[in-house]
Each structure stands twice: as structure tokens, then as C-alpha cells.
């Protein structure tokens, strides 16, 4: 009898203790669109999550759910996270925008951070990186290096984010190579290695010798490596494992500083709803090492452009630029405003094809 009582008390004490401990920790949740091992987009977000753990140690606890489909199911995952006690939730794909807003309305004391979207609320911030700055450098290298003058581009979904990347890359490829053509394929997925590889193969079969991708896995690079004599770029992550193959450079998303800053803001109680859109300058967008496959002069030009963008001396969308239909978008020397860029739904002059709705 005594023993039982003792055990019960001990168990109760332990329960209270762990309960109290759980109270002290800030629970930070992450909702991912792909698996953490995709080697690209989600992989980099997860590196950010690990950086938060490393920075705050015992003060935070992180949880994540990977491969969450964009749609109603995302709402369920976020709701569950909030019910489980997460006080800060990062939702890391464009398609999580409406689910994030809906769930945030139900949990006013939980802070939400949505990547690449444009809808905000008192407890919903948005953040994104100016990937188009990196795309400009990619376009420059691609335009200089293509021999067939055909550049293949694998798009995911026709959203402003992706269209911006296509335009930026195209403008800078055309600038150095007036004969360059873009062939654009929409995969309608962020992550499907087989389909991404198929798309890359199709583009290569149709004459592209440079493959640019806006999907999350390394599959297009694998397909390019298999085909041989094709160059490509790491997307979202360095993808350095293909550096001795097709990958000549990369755009790296560096989310860690942002995630650490936002987690600290919640811990300090200074969190407010904000809109962050940082590029190469603040370090949210990195350019992976340019390999020796790129001629030295092209590499030097690319790095010079990177510096100019970082210092704010050059904006990738500087006029004169026309829209696809020939109408004037930006006059000579005019720089695009963020509003137009965020809602970009048109191609610039020279790109063939129409944007799916």
C-alpha cells in the first residue's frame, strides 16, 4: 500500500515537473511542402530549423511535418500543431497561404510566419527572399555559356514568384546573347523527382543545353548529368554534390538568420506582424561557388553583378523593359517597384508562350 502510494506521488510529481518544463520551452513548428531530404527548398528550411535549435538550446523545442500537400490538409496539420502547443509556426510554401490565414484566425495567440505569400494578419507575418537577384546572375552565365542558344526552364506553378525568376533570368540572358530562346515547361508540382527529370530530359531532347529549374529536388541536375554536356544550377540549396557535373553555380536560400531573429522576437515578446523581403545584400540569398567550367571572364562579370546587386547599385529589373505584348513597362533607368514585382503576372518582351492562369 505504502509503495503504491509512493509510486503514485512520484509519478504525479514527475508529471507536474515535465508539465512545468514543457511550459518553459517555446515550441516552434515548421510545415514543409516536401521531404527534408529533398536536397533543395525544404532541406534549406530544415537547416534553418536546426539553426534555431542550436541557437536557443533548451529554451525552444522544434517540431516539423514534412511533405504536407498544399490545400485543405495543410490546415489540419497547422491546427494540430497549434493545438499541440506550438506558439510560433513557419509555413514554408506559397500554397500554404490561405490555410495559414484561416488557422491563424482561430489561434490569435499563436504567431504564424508564411513564406513567399502576400496575405498578412495581426499574428501572421510574411517573409521571402529576392530569388530574382540570383536569377539575374544565373541568366547572365546561362546566356554566355549556351551554344545551342536554347535555355530550358522548369517552372513549378505559374505564380508571381516563379514568373519573376523566369523574367529576371531571361532579361540577363538576352542582354549578353540576343539570340537566346527560353523553352518553358510547367511541371505543376514543387516536388516530384521523376517528373522533374522527365521535364529536364524533354528540354534537353529539344535542344536546350542549359537547364534552369524552379522545382525543389536535384532530379533535373541528375538528368542533366546523365545526358552529359549540359549545365544547370543548384536551386534553393547549393546542390554541390553535382559540382563536378552539370552544376556550375547555385542560388542558396539562407533562412537561418531570419528564423533565429523571429524566434528571439517571440521569446522577448517583441514579435509583431512584419513583411520581410531580403536579397543578396542582407544574405538571405546566396550565390553558390561558380565552378571552373565557367570561363574566368564570365565568372568575374557574374561576381561583379552580385556585388552591384548586394550594394544596391544595380536592380535586376531596370528599364528600358517592355512587356511581352510590346507595351512599355519600365522607361529607361526606371526601377521596378516591389508591388509590381510581388504581383508579377506577365512575361517580358522576347519570351515566347503564354502564362497559364
Amino acid at each position: 500500500m505504502k509503495l503504491t502510494k509512493l509510486l503514485t506521488t512520484a509519478a504525479l510529481a514527475l508529471g507536474l515537473a515535465t508539465g512545468a518544463m514543457a511550459q518553459d520551452k517555446l515550441k516552434v513548428g515548421f510545415v514543409y511542402v516536401g521531404p527534408v531530404g529533398d536536397g533543395g527548398w525544404t532541406y534549406e528550411h530544415d537547416k534553418g530549423r536546426l539553426a534555431v535549435e542550436a541557437e536557443f538550446g533548451d529554451k525552444v523545442e522544434t517540431v516539423f511535418v514534412e511533405s504536407v500537400p498544399e490545400g485543405p490538409d495543410a490546415e489540419r496539420v497547422m491546427t494540430q500543431m497549434a493545438l499541440d502547443g506550438a506558439k510560433l509556426i513557419f509555413t514554408t510554401s506559397f500554397g500554404f497561404m490561405d490555410p495559414t490565414i484561416n488557422v491563424a484566425a482561430k489561434f490569435p495567440d499563436v504567431k504564424f510566419e508564411h513564406a513567399t505569400g502576400y496575405k498578412r494578419a495581426d499574428n501572421v507575418s510574411t517573409y521571402s527572399a529576392r530569388f530574382y537577384e540570383g536569377r539575374a546572375i544565373q541568366g547572365h552565365i546561362a546566356g554566355k555559356m549556351t551554344e545551342s542558344n536554347i535555355i530550358g526552364y522548369i517552372g513549378s506553378y505559374p505564380i508571381p514568384e516563379v514568373i519573376r525568376g523566369i523574367n529576371s533570368a531571361f532579361i540577363h540572358a538576352r542582354k549578353v546573347n540576343p539570340d537566346v530562346q527560353f523553352k518553358i515547361v510547367w511541371a505543376y508540382t514543387w516536388f516530384d523527382p521523376a517528373k522533374e527529370a522527365d521535364a529536364a530530359k524533354v528540354l534537353i531532347e529539344q535542344g536546350a543545353d542549359v537547364i534552369l529549374q524552379h522545382t525543389d529536388s536535384t532530379a533535373p541536375l541528375a538528368a542533366a548529368a546523365e545526358a552529359g554536356n549540359i549545365i544547370g544550377f543548384g536551386q534553393a540549396s547549393d546542390m554541390g554534390e553535382y559540382a563536378d557535373g552539370p552544376r556550375v553555380s547555385s542560388i542558396i536560400d539562407n533562412w537561418a538568420p531570419y528564423y533565429i531573429a523571429r524566434t528571439r522576437a517571440v521569446l522577448d515578446g517583441t514579435w509583431t506582424s512584419t513583411d520581410t523581403w531580403d536579397g543578396i545584400g542582407p544574405g538571405m540569398v546566396g550565390i553558390g561557388e561558380i565552378t571552373d567550367k565557367v570561363p574566368a571572364d564570365v565568372k568575374a562579370e557574374a561576381l561583379a553583378m552580385k556585388d552591384a546587386i548586394a550594394k544596391g547599385e544595380y536592380h535586376p529589373f531596370t528599364g528600358p523593359l517592355n512587356k511581352q505584348d510590346g507595351s512599355v513597362w519600365l522607361a529607361d533607368g526606371e526601377v521596378a517597384d516591389d508591388g509590381t514585382l510581388l504581383g508579377m503576372d506577365f512575361y517580358v518582351e522576347g519570351i515566347e508562350g503564354t502564362i497559364p492562369n
Binding site: 523553352k183 523527382p193 541528375a222 515566347e352 492562369n357
Partner: protein, 306 residues
């Protein structure tokens, strides 16, 4: 719009490549369902096969050993399903879904450290004479062995189900397991064998993606092909030839729509993107107007109590 940039020979060749993983997984599942078992774990078995095959191929440098390992990996995982549903008499739907989740987790565990590695390339069949024939040679006679293996398996399954005693018994078990049991056939044993075959086929289908189609290992890389295979079996009304047709249609339209997009054809991309699903379903639904129905015991639990 520039259709001339599409090379029809390469198009037909890549059509067969795109169809093969789906074909392998679907024909395996067809045999399982013909035996009266509904295994929803195809996706899990595929992804497990993909990483088992990849790991062994990388470590031994022999892609053929990799394919064998993939078949073994898929079969071992399906054994778990067999134990749950045939021995422990668990619910097949729940067990199958569990198998998919388990397979996805297990594969990413095994796959740690295999990211970004390039597997040994798969030998391409080169038949002297035949492979050199212009056009036809490139389309039909210069693929990797797996493409032909897929076709051989479909033929063998069709032949076995239609013309052999073993096939008759398998169908009997699937149509009415109590009658089959009364006739003295070992229902559970036959079903376990069918499940293992299904697992091996799914595993090979997965390995085809990780070793040939992409080729690399990425977590979750099958990205839903297992589910398409499951749907394909139903739409093909459990007939091997229709599975073949469906898989080639699906793979074919997938590749063609990408080609049309790249060539800048003026069909809205949304329609192109949905076309593989739409066309495959449409064709197979029209064909299944002959009212062929599912095996009568499909998904029902068998226990020899009477």
C-alpha cells in the same frame, strides 16, 4: 509553336521509360488483387524498393544486383503486410495505408547518406543488327533491360492467369475464398505468395525510378506513382493488357504533354497537365464498358473456421 523541335523517335523511346515504373507496380498489384487482397501499400513498397536497389547498386557497383535487391526489399516489406492481414487477420485497408507510411519512413532512414550520389549507369540493351535499324531500333531495341522485363512480366501474368492451372487457382481464391478453401487450396499460402510477388514488382518499379529514370536517391521520390498504379488496376478492370495500355498511355501522355509545352503549342498548359489522368481514365473507362468487375473476395478477410 514549333513542332519540328520534337523528335518523335526520342519521344517514343522516353515514353516507354516513363511508363515502366507504373507498369511494374500496377501488374504486381493486379496479381495481388486477383488473389482477393487489397494492398494499398504500393507506394511504400515502391519507395522501399527504390532505396534498397539504389543502396545495393551504389555499394556493389552493379545495377542488376540493385534491381534484385529492390525486388527483395519490396517483397520483405510486403511480407509485413501479409503477416498482418493473412495471419493476424488485420484490416487490409488500414494495414496497406500503414505500410505506405512505414515504407516512406523506412526508406528515408535507409537513404541517409545516399543523397547526391550518382548510381552506376544501367546497361542499355544492344542487340547487334536490331538496335542499329534506323528509327525502329532506337524506339524498340535499345532500352535498358527493365523495360523488357516489364513487358515480359505482363505477358507472363496474362498467360498464367488465363491459361494455367495456377492462374485458375489464384483467381478462384480471389473470387470465392471459401469455395477455394473447400476444394482444398491453401488460401492463405496462395495469397501470401501473391502479396510477395506484388511487393517484388513494386520494389522493382521503385528502383527503376531511382536507378534509371531520374537517376538518384531523393526522399519521397516516388511522389504518388504507387497510388496511380492502384487506380490503374481498377480502371484496367483487373486485366493485364489493359494495365499495359493504361501505363503506356499515362507515361506517354505525360511525356508528350511536356514535349508540347516545351515546343510552345498553343494549348493551355492546365489542360496539358491534366491530360495524362484524363485520357488514361477516359480510355480505360470506355473499354471497361463490358462490365468486368472486381474479384468478388477483394479485401475480405479469410479465416478457415468453417
Amino acid at each position: 509553336m514549333d513542332l519540328s523541335s520534337i523528335n518523335p523517335i526520342l519521344l517514343l523511346a522516353s515514353l516507354m521509360v516513363a511508363a515502366t515504373p507504373l507498369l511494374l507496380a500496377a501488374v504486381g498489384e493486379l496479381v495481388v488483387e486477383k488473389a482477393g487482397v487489397l494492398n494499398l501499400g504500393v507506394e511504400g513498397m515502391m519507395i522501399t524498393g527504390a532505396i534498397c536497389g539504389f543502396a545495393i547498386a551504389v555499394n556493389t557497383g552493379n545495377p542488376l544486383l540493385g534491381v534484385l535487391a529492390a525486388a527483395a526489399g519490396g517483397a520483405v516489406l510486403s511480407l509485413l503486410f501479409a503477416l498482418l492481414t493473412q495471419v493476424a487477420l488485420a484490416n487490409q485497408v488500414a494495414s496497406g495505408l500503414g505500410l505506405t507510411l512505414f515504407g516512406l519512413g523506412l526508406s528515408s532512414l535507409i537513404g541517409q547518406g545516399y543523397q547526391g550520389i550518382r548510381p552506376p549507369s544501367f546497361p542499355r540493351l544492344n542487340i547487334p543488327g536490331l538496335s542499329d535499324v534506323p528509327v525502329v531500333g532506337r524506339i524498340f531495341f535499345s532500352h535498358d533491360l527493365m523495360v523488357y522485363l516489364g513487358l515480359i512480366i505482363v505477358t507472363a501474368v496474362w498467360f498464367m492467369l488465363k491459361y494455367t492451372r495456377a492462374g485458375l487457382i489464384l483467381r478462384a481464391v480471389g473470387e470465392n475464398h471459401e469455395a477455394a478453401h473447400a476444394l482444398g487450396y491453401k488460401v492463405v499460402r496462395i495469397r501470401i505468395m501473391a502479396i510477395l510477388f506484388g511487393g517484388a514488382c513494386a520494389g522493382m518499379g521503385g528502383a527503376y525510378i531511382s536507378l534509371i529514370r531520374v537517376p538518384q536517391w531523393t526522399e519521397g521520390m516516388t511522389a504518388g506513382i504507387g497510388w496511380i498504379a492502384l487506380a490503374l488496376v481498377v480502371f484496367a478492370s483487373w486485366k493485364p493488357w489493359r494495365v499495359l495500355l493504361g501505363a503506356y498511355l499515362f507515361g506517354g501522355v505525360t511525356v508528350i504533354q511536356l514535349n508540347l509545352q516545351a515546343a510552345g503549342v498553343a494549348i493551355p498548359v492546365e489542360y496539358l497537365a491534366m491530360s495524362p489522368y484524363l485520357i488514361t481514365i477516359l480510355v480505360l473507362v470506355i473499354m471497361s464498358a463490358d462490365k468486368s468487375s472486381a474479384p468478388a473476395s477483394l479485401g475480405r478477410i479469410f479465416h478457415a473456421s468453417r
